[in-house]
């Protein structure tokens, strides 16, 4: 459970290599230039692959920041 954040940072780092690592935990759709619909799809699939989870389509529109994805992941892992 404790390694969720660093693993998520690695996913973000792979999809958004332009974000300096210390800033990744503050990343959100408003501030990351390359966070468009294509990047979002790539990010979600990368995170799902890394954590062995699947995000419900309805939840996707709320996943607009590192922190919101982290929170959602923690919830999913807790119920697994």
């Amino acid at each position: 459970m404790n390694d969720i954040e660093p693993r998520l940072v690695r996913c973000f780092s792979a999809v958004f290599p332009g974000i300096p690592e210390p800033q990744i935990t503050n990343a959100n759709v408003e501030t990351v230039e390359t966070w468009d619909s294509v990047a979002m799809a790539t990010l979600v699939t990368a995170v799902e692959e890394e954590f062995g989870v699947e995000f419900d389509v309805d939840s996707l529109s709320n996943l607009t920041s590192f922190q919101s994805i982290l929170g959602h992941l923690k919830q999913l892992k807790a119920t697994q």
Partner: protein
């Protein structure tokens, strides 16, 4: 490629065609202006693999002593439009870890990570089959047809042609590998997902053991939520995975036949309306709805004549009336309206340029200027021309504004500013030009080519939203 300055390459028209010929990737998003305007990019884009191979050629030209790569991972971040200049930036993170970036006006459009340290040139079990010319067929596949699909892509170019265009890359990697990379473009653009594809990324290794002489592929996963396709490839000296999106086809509006069941047959009987931008999207819907109610729309196009003719044919084939004319907001309105046989008292103004485009700065004055031309100056010129054509100057119009004016989504600053200015213009024309009735509504996201996205997004119902507006506009007695 042409070199504008040190390390700046312009992907011009000639190179675009040449790469299509070399790769066999003639996908309309690269080669056909009318089709490309209906994609999310809105214009023809450079083949992503072309940029990558040029970047490899560039980095190989810097040093003749680069060790062989063992893997290459590439991601296409933003579209590059035909005619744009791209700069390459190389960073050696370690002796064996090379990062290559392609940039347009300082914005990364593609990136590649290369692991160096390969000891051997690829040894092949079979000689690659260069120069296999076959009919270029751009497959239009349904999602169901993509799942599990497999096949083979041949090298279209000859070994000499590949070496002629990318001499440094060939010297470094060998013609087979460069040819194999070029094949990836054809795989995605023509074979699978084919016509409605968007190349996202690829990761390949360069195995020392032989690979098949042509590129064999197999779809290994399809994520229907995002229409994301993962394809395993093996051949021409490389082995790895390709990720591509199966884009939605251009947005389909409600059919004329369906509208005949929704609109009362005589609702707009004999009413003539000018629908600017009626060749697709909301303009197409408006024209069909008017015609379904007995109205006589004249739809205009700026570049999409084929689309405009398609809409008019659909209406006429089911007994409706529809005229087509070319109208360009960059040309004087009064002059263009002269072709109309009689006065048109109803106006729908859907003229637009590409709304979502690759940005290089937070606020772009030239983008604002372009939006203002479409949403303010163009509308004013047309209203003034229509007004001057009639003694009493009366007409009724619809000006579509956007919820972006209030909601202010990211990257839409200039668009929101121009639409806000358009609203002000509408209000003042309404106030100070007697007899002119203008309805301006802030529309939410509706299904059009411009609002298409890979991400599942809800759109409002065009019938529920636009039909009442049409009824309001047409109810004004002019």
């Amino acid at each position: 490629m042409t070199s504008d300055a040190k390390n700046a390459f312009t992907f011009n028209e000639e190179l675009q065609t040449e790469f299509a010929r070399l790769s066999g990737d003639w996908n309309p998003m690269h080669m056909n202006t009318a089709s490309a305007r209906r994609t999310q990019a809105g214009r023809r884009v450079v083949h992503g693999v072309h940029i990558v191979v040029c970047a490899l050629d560039y980095v190989a030209s810097l040093s003749g002593s680069l060790s062989l790569p063992t893997s290459l991972g590439t991601r296409f971040v933003k579209p590059v439009y035909v005619g744009e200049s791209v700069q390459f930036r190389e960073t050696f993170r370690t002796n064996s870890d090379l990062r290559l970036e392609a940039l347009v006006e300082g914005i990364v459009v593609a990136e590649a990570d290369i692991t160096l340290g390969g000891a051997h040139r690829i040894s092949r079990s079979a000689r690659p089959e260069y120069g296999l010319s076959d009919e270029p067929v751009c497959h239009e596949l349904m999602l169901e047809e993509i799942a599990g699909r497999s096949g083979r892509v041949h090298l279209v170019a000859t070994e000499d042609e590949i070496a002629h265009h990318f001499p440094n890359a060939v010297n470094w990697l060998g013609a087979e590998v460069v040819g194999g990379l070029i094949c990836l473009s054809r795989l995605v653009g023509m074979e699978c997902p084919g016509l409605h594809s968007l190349f996202s990324s690829f990761t390949v290794e360069f195995p020392a053991t032989g690979t098949p002489p042509s590129l064999e592929y197999r779809v290994v996963s399809l994520d229907k939520r995002f229409r994301l396709v993962k394809i395993e490839v093996n051949g021409c000296g490389l082995r790895g995975t390709v990720a591509a999106f199966a884009r939605h086809p251009p947005a389909l509006q409600t059919s004329y036949k369906e509208l005949l069941t929704i609109v009362s047959p005589n609702e707009f009987q004999g009413q003539r309306a000018l629908v600017i931008g009626g060749s697709r999207g909301l303009g197409e819907f408006t024209a069909k709805a008017l015609a379904a109610g007995g109205g006589v729309p004249t739809i205009t196009y700026a570049t999409g004549k084929e689309d405009a003719d398609r809409v008019a044919d659909e209406i006429r084939q089911s007994g409706g009336s529809c005229d087509v004319m070319r109208y360009d907001i960059h040309t004087q309105a009064s002059q263009q309206l002269e072709v109309l046989s009689s006065f048109v008292p109803y106006l729908y103004y859907y003229a637009t340029c590409q709304i979502f485009c690759r940005r290089t700065k937070r606020f772009d004055p030239s983008l604002l200027e372009e939006f203002l031309k479409f949403y303010v100056t163009g509308f004013y010129d047309l209203c003034a021309a229509l007004r001057s054509k009639r003694e009493n100057g009366f007409f009724s119009a619809f000006y579509p504004s956007s919820i972006a004016v209030a909601d202010r989504p990211r990257d839409m600053t200039e668009y929101a500013m121009a639409k806000a200015a358009g609203e002000v213009l509408c209000t003042d024309l309404h106030r100070f030009w007697p007899g002119i009735h203008i309805i301006s509504v802030r529309l939410p996201r509706l299904l059009t080519d411009q609002t298409a996205t890979m991400f599942p997004t809800e759109t409002a119902s065009t019938v529920d939203l636009i039909l009442p507006i049409i009824r309001d506009v047409q109810s004004v007695r002019v």
